[in-house]
């Protein structure tokens, strides 16, 4: 490591301008994160033009701060409203909301924040040390390995869904089916587009995600409102016993470390997003627990698992970006554009051409984590005020943001129609206890799985023996089969899925 560059970088990172830039990014991200339906990638695309007049360092740190802020902020609405601010915080709501309902909203928020910040800082440190050497390792993950990991992720996450295995299969199957809509990757011929040009790139992910997660939740909440005037949001009282304690903090540390590991691994692999990370971490925590029954009912470890992984994905997604120039997910892809606007090509060249910039960005990322901690800790009560607003005011506002967020994506009226259709689907799934999480994950994974599977089959020319030379792929294929068998056996024995994580 070039220490003179590190020194220069630190002095640039800790200036008033950078504090304002990064702090502004984190604050903006936090607010975007709190509001369900306004997503991270939307916020980044809107914010990129704002960075035209900043220095490259502040511009990039601002955008990374924004990303980090959304990951932490989304926990607030997941816990207090049961409406995750980002899809990736859906797992946080599973335990966060019940915990808040049980009169510990502040503790839940604090657990979420600390898990976020720790996951974030650790993953940033891992990024700093492995981004460059990673370039070599990442090349070991070819299509065989990616296909195997994706298949494993699909089965593993499906295993977490509530309800019967048949309902899980139905939900997953529907996700896979809808995931195949769009132009065929190789021939360019349209599949299931019914002549709609808008469907050429598939069902728009953002519409499917906002529809099944946020908008359908508003339908569910407004229905509840008819019978239950007490409302959906949890009121924050001035209860002195409601705060995180040292023993509680100590007890979640192993979970946070596991979550950070999972999040970093998932983030570093191009294509898998934070939602996969947070659900995988949640699932592993439930499995590792001595008391799996307590999850879904307000176990703080559930919040810690989801939030630490969610936040760890953000810096980890920059590992392939800085190491190889390949974005780990959508927000990282947007950053490539932001870099380019400032005349910088991201990738292995960055360290050689611009070491100071790279180290300043690393310093800026650590600074962003600390600002996030301070902002989250002291601003907790202020951000949580949104929940004091009565539901009959919140619901229309959230619906507005869902629709506006969709319009911002540029899909026009067509996007709104798709959004509302998926909201209706999500509502019915919630109502009849089909796992919308399994559906969504299957939908997100299918295009990647299809592409990698196709590549593997064509490249191997149909020869299975090639897998013997790919130990990583073989390992995940075995894991997938074991998970499938375990899932089936447990379901038929007890009539229950492996881990029961109720959707509501």
């Amino acid at each position: 490591m070039d220490f003179s560059a590190v020194g220069a970088a630190a002095s640039e990172a800790f200036t008033l301008a950078s504090f304002i830039g990064i702090g502004g990014g984190v604050l903006l991200g936090y607010i975007v994160g709190v509001i369900p339906g306004l997503s991270r990638s939307v916020a980044i695309s809107i914010a990129i033009p704002l960075t035209f007049y900043m220095s490259p360092f502040i511009a990039i740190s601002f955008l990374i701060g924004l990303s980090k802020g959304t990951a932490a902020g989304s926990a607030v609405s997941a816990i207090l409203l049961n409406a995750p601010g980002e899809a990736s915080s859906a797992a946080t709501a599973l335990d966060g909301y019940p915990m808040a309902k049980k009169g510990k909203p502040k503790t839940a928020l604090q657990v979420g924040l600390l898990a976020s910040v720790i996951g974030d800082i650790l993953a940033t440190i891992i990024l700093i040390f492995v981004a460059i050497p990673f370039a070599r390792v990442a090349l070991l993950f070819g299509p065989y390995e990616m296909a195997a990991i994706l298949a494993f992720a699909l089965v593993f996450i499906a295993g977490l869904s509530g309800g019967s295995i048949f309902k899980g299969l139905a939900a997953g199957g529907l996700g896979i089916f809808l995931g195949t809509v769009g132009l065929d990757n190789q021939t360019g011929l349209p599949r299931l587009t019914f002549g709609y040009t808008e469907l050429m790139d598939g069902m728009p992910l953002i519409a499917v995600a906002i529809g099944t997660l946020a908008l359908s939740e508003m339908f569910v909440q407004s229905e509840k409102l008819r019978y239950d005037r007490a409302g959906m949001s949890v009121e924050l009282k001035n209860d002195r016993s409601d705060h995180i304690t040292w023993p509680l903090f100590r007890s979640i540390i192993p979970t946070v470390l596991r979550g950070t590991g999972v999040g970093t691994f998932v983030g570093a692999l191009p294509g898998l997003g934070p939602s996969v990370g947070s659900f995988m971490s949640y699932g592993m925590t439930v499995k590792a627990s001595k008391d799996p029954e307590s999850f879904g009912k307000g176990n703080p470890k559930g919040i810690a698992a989801s939030e630490s992984a969610d936040n760890a994905v953000i810096p980890a997604a920059l590992i392939p970006l800085f190491g190889l120039g390949i974005p780990g997910n959508v927000s990282a892809a947007l950053l490539i554009g932001a870099f380019a606007i400032h005349g910088i090509t991201v990738g292995p060249l960055l360290l050689r051409d611009n070491p100071e910039l790279l180290y300043s960005i690393f310093a800026g990322m650590i600074l962003a984590s600390l600002i996030m901690l301070a902002l989250g800790w002291f601003g907790l009560m202020i951000f949580a005020q949104i929940t004091k607003v009565p539901p009959h005011v919140v619901i229309p506002i959230v619906i507005f943001f869902c629709l506006a967020g969709m319009m911002l994506q540029g899909y026009g009226t067509f996007g709104l129609v798709i959004l509302i259709a998926f909201a209706a689907l999500g509502y019915l799934m919630k109502k009849y206890d089909y796992s919308f999480v399994t559906f969504l994950v299957a939908f997100i994974i299918t295009p990647m799985l299809e592409l990698n599977l196709r590549q593997s089959i064509i490249l191997s020319r149909g020869n299975w023996e090639i897998l013997l030379n790919r130990p990583i792929a073989l390992f995940f294929i075995v894991c997938t089969l074991v998970a499938l068998v375990a899932l089936a056996v447990r379901t038929f024995k007890t009539g229950k899925p492996v881990a029961n994580a109720p959707a509501d």
Binding site: A138, G188, D201, L324, A333, T345, Q455
Partner: protein
């Protein structure tokens, strides 16, 4: 309102109504530049810089709107249905017009639009990893005559061309889809495939010496790789031409088109646009006027139909 302001207002209205002053007054409100790809790609990067420079020239903000889908097919469908007032224009490559309609039913045709000015030349290349035992396109072919080989495609067009060449040369070639430049790079660098198509992603990897351009599919050599031949020069009668062009729907008033063309020409001479487009994406900056572009688009379409028809 006193009498003096009344007169001033009347004078102002008179001035706006005076037709000859029009050209200098346009535009009077912000413009929208449509990009048919998601943020982050080379079209988006070039478009955003272009928007900034055009804004400088026109004196009104130029807002960039991304309308991804179907390799710009969605954006063209929308553009066709917008008001032909010049306030909304598209910036992007021409393959959605010269190639997409051949294989996919779309709701637009070449004649629905006008091609005002091209400001950058597309860079389609065949690339391979520096760690492979071959480097030039001839060496790839020679290697392929002895061994089974793999190729990563990105569009049915480059696949059709490579398939035709493989047939001519008698290669045993397996062709895989990649889903874009981001997916192509790890396959090539990890040597999962022997060679691949690149629409511009190679600009990030050739300076490090990790990737090698074996041949260009464009009609002419790239000024950034002067020693690399084109397929045409190697004796294969195929090329993929692409122009990054400012496009408006049919029927925009002539004065407005003239202003947009002036703005595009101004941008093609601007240092900021050149720095990003040539320095970062390795696309040569040019200025090709409307007359030549209208002819080029139709000529490329006819040539592409021939290639696709022969398969």
């Amino acid at each position: 309102m006193n009498r003096r302001t009344l007169i001033a207002t009347a004078a102002a209205i008179g001035a706006t109504m005076a037709a000859p002053a029009f050209a200098q007054d346009w535009p009077t409100r912000p413009l929208t530049m449509v990009i048919g790809f998601a943020p982050g790609g080379s079209t988006d990067i070039q478009g955003r810089v272009l928007a900034n420079v055009m804004e400088e020239f026109l004196g009104q903000p130029v807002n960039v709107v991304n309308q991804p889908g179907g390799g710009s097919a969605v954006a063209f469908t929308r553009l066709k249905n917008t008001a032909a007032d010049g306030y909304t224009f598209l910036f992007g490559g021409t393959t959605a017009l010269t190639f997409t309609p051949i294989i996919t039913p779309v709701e637009y045709e070449i004649d629905d639009f006008e091609y005002l000015a091209a400001v950058a030349l597309g860079q389609n290349a065949i690339v391979t990893s520096a760690e492979q035992p071959f480097e030039t396109f001839d060496e790839i072919i020679a290697h392929g005559k002895e061994n089974q080989m793999t190729y990563a495609q990105q569009t049915p067009l480059d696949e059709a061309i490579i398939r035709a060449i493989a047939e001519e040369e008698g290669l045993d070639l397996a062709i895989v889809p990649t889903g874009g430049g981001g997916g192509m790079a790890p396959l090539v660098l990890g040597r999962e495939v022997d060679f691949a198509y690149s629409g511009g992603t190679h600009a990030q990897y050739t300076p490090t010496g990790e990737m090698v351009v074996a041949a260009f599919m464009s009609a002419e050599r790239s000024p950034f790789y002067p020693d690399t031949p084109t397929l045409m020069e190697l004796g294969y009668d195929y090329s993929i031409e692409d122009y990054r062009t400012v496009i408006v729907p049919q029927g925009v008033p002539d004065e407005v088109k003239a202003r947009l063309m002036e703005a595009a020409e101004y941008a093609s001479e601007s240092q900021a646009f050149k720095d990003i487009t040539e320095g970062n994406t390795f696309f040569p900056v040019v200025y090709i006027g409307q007359e030549e572009m209208e002819a080029s688009v139709r000529r490329i379409r006819a040539a592409t139909e021939e290639v696709m028809g022969s398969n």
